[in-house]
């Protein structure tokens, strides 16, 4: 069953037409990768799913984005509630200048959970879920900045997962990480898929092919092709997709 449904989405930065008539559905508890050259609109499209583009002036959306059948740009939508359901992890790890524990507990506290036992349980659960617990269990009170880049990124994933989102958006989550840390993030994505739907933007073709169930190829604001990752990387239907993934683009 689909959890995200985009219908005839057009998006503009001022007069620039950044996304052109995009319609797609994303299945619940699947991993979907968005690929395409820089400036093709894949990150813009991703950021529509939790209304991150609302923060950018002079932007305009046409069409609809439904999550669980509800128009997230509808009048009765509370954006903070939406972002609890649709978490996000960015390219560069962005932990808060707080302790490891407080980073994960923060979202819970903001969401009104006061019971310390419940918070602690969720913090431990989230750190374990993000495959970070064994590495930080003895230094929970230390600053998150003391962690390595890969650990910080997993901490950000733990922070996002602590509030039990239904969807996790990842914008190039491993592009600033070394191969070992990247592998850990990819393993984590496979594990997290059991609990959440993941949409990931990546420039790394092999990463897209390793972690995702479906892949969408974007070019100049259009979604050129969307299909099973296995098909996209073995037998794409569109020549543009083939040229891009084989490195012959342009």
């Amino acid at each position: 069953m689909e959890i995200i449904k985009a219908q005839h989405v057009n998006f503009y930065y001022g007069s620039f037409h950044a996304l052109k008539d995009i319609s797609m559905e994303i299945e619940e508890k699947s991993v979907v990768a968005f690929i395409g050259p820089s400036g093709c609109g894949k990150s813009t499209f991703l950021r529509l799913f939790n209304r991150m583009n609302d923060l950018i002036p002079k932007t305009r959306l046409e069409g609809q984005i439904l999550i669980n059948g509800q128009d997230i740009y509808g009048k009765n939508i509370q954006v903070d509630q939406l972002r609890k359901e649709v978490g996000m992890v960015f390219q560069r790890p962005n932990p808060f200048p707080k302790s490891i524990y407080e980073n994960v507990a923060y979202g819970l506290k903001v969401n009104g959970i006061k019971n310390q036992d419940v918070i602690e349980e969720r913090v431990v659960e989230s750190l374990k879920g993000a495959a970070l617990w064994d590495e930080v269990k003895d230094k929970l009170k230390k600053s998150a900045y003391a962690l390595s880049g890969g650990q910080q990124q997993r901490l950000c994933i733990a922070r996002a997962m602590a509030v039990s989102p239904q969807i996790l958006l990842m914008d190039e989550p491993a592009s600033a990480l070394d191969p070992i840390s990247t592998a850990k993030i990819e393993e984590l994505i496979r594990e997290l898929k059991k609990q959440v739907t993941i949409v990931i933007v990546t420039h790394n073709m092999q990463q897209a092919s390793r972690v995702s169930d479906k892949t969408a190829f974007f070019y100049m604001g259009e979604m050129v092709e969307y299909g099973r990752t296995k098909d996209i990387f073995t037998n794409p239907e569109k020549e543009a997709t083939q040229n891009y993934i084989t490195g012959r683009f342009g």
């Binding site: 073709m205 092999q206 092919s209 990387f233 073995t234 037998n235 794409p236 997709t241 083939q242 993934i245 084989t246 490195g247 012959r248």
Partner: protein, 230 residues
């Protein structure tokens, strides 16, 4: 700008083509050696089989490097996989040529092959069909022409029929010419090897179509033929 991977793929293509030419020449010489009982030529085929084996190992190694270093995807991946399998099939064809050449080398000179029997068996035609199949399969790949692969599949049926007929002809002949039983066994083995060679050339054509169309054709020639006709 030519991408690194394109240079590597082109190199692999060239190597496969050279392997193809080598194996074709092995089969052609085997044909000549059998039909003219030329032991010297047969011996030459046996010696050159080592080159075929060495070439196969070289191509295998290059394919391994290409996958490890360049991570080909989509049409590139299909090409590399197809070449990898075609390489194995060509090497098997080389084995058949060598195996048949060994019959010629080991044949007793005192018992000449019965020319009428060979004519009835259509041994020469059997060889010619195999060579034509191999040649057509090569052209299909070089020209990226799917119609030519269909011709390969058709020819395989001819080989099956000639091989099938040979069994009854040889059985009948052996009954009436008991001193020739050993020759009959050898001829039967040659037919079987040539029929198997046809199967491997069919595999090559299938891999070629896989590269063109990404259709897995195994055991499904009829579907392809129907597709092409429609």
């Amino acid at each position: 700008m030519v991408k690194f991977i394109e240079t590597e793929l082109e190199q692999l293509n060239k190597e496969i083509d050279e392997m193809w030419v080598l194996v074709y020449s092995q089969l052609e010489n085997t044909r000549e050696a059998v039909l003219t009982s030329n032991k010297g030529l047969a011996q030459q085929v046996i010696v050159r089989e080592k080159r075929v084996n060495a070439f196969e190992l070289k191509i295998d190694s290059d394919v391994e490097d290409l996958i490890a270093l360049y991570s080909p995807v989509a049409i590139d991946l299909r090409f590399v996989l197809a070449m990898f399998k075609i390489n194995t099939d060509l090497e098997r064809l080389g084995d058949f040529a060598e195996g048949i050449a060994r019959y010629v080398v080991n044949k007793e000179d005192s018992i000449p092959l019965d020319a009428d029997l060979l004519k009835e068996l259509q041994l020469e035609r059997m060889f010619d069909e195999v060579l034509a199949m191999l040649s057509t399969a090569r052209e299909a790949l070089r020209q990226e022409n799917i119609d030519l692969t269909a011709q390969v599949f058709e020819k395989d049926n001819i080989l099956d029929e000639l091989n099938h007929n040979s069994t009854s002809i040889l059985t009948e002949y052996a009954k009436n010419n008991t001193e020739q039983i050993s020759q009959c066994f050898s001829l039967s083995s040659i037919f079987r090897k040539l029929e198997r060679a046809g199967d491997h050339i069919t595999n090559i054509a299938e891999e070629t179509v896989f590269y063109f169309n990404a259709k897995i054709l195994k055991h499904n020639h009829k579907a392809l033929m129907d597709d092409m006709i429609s």
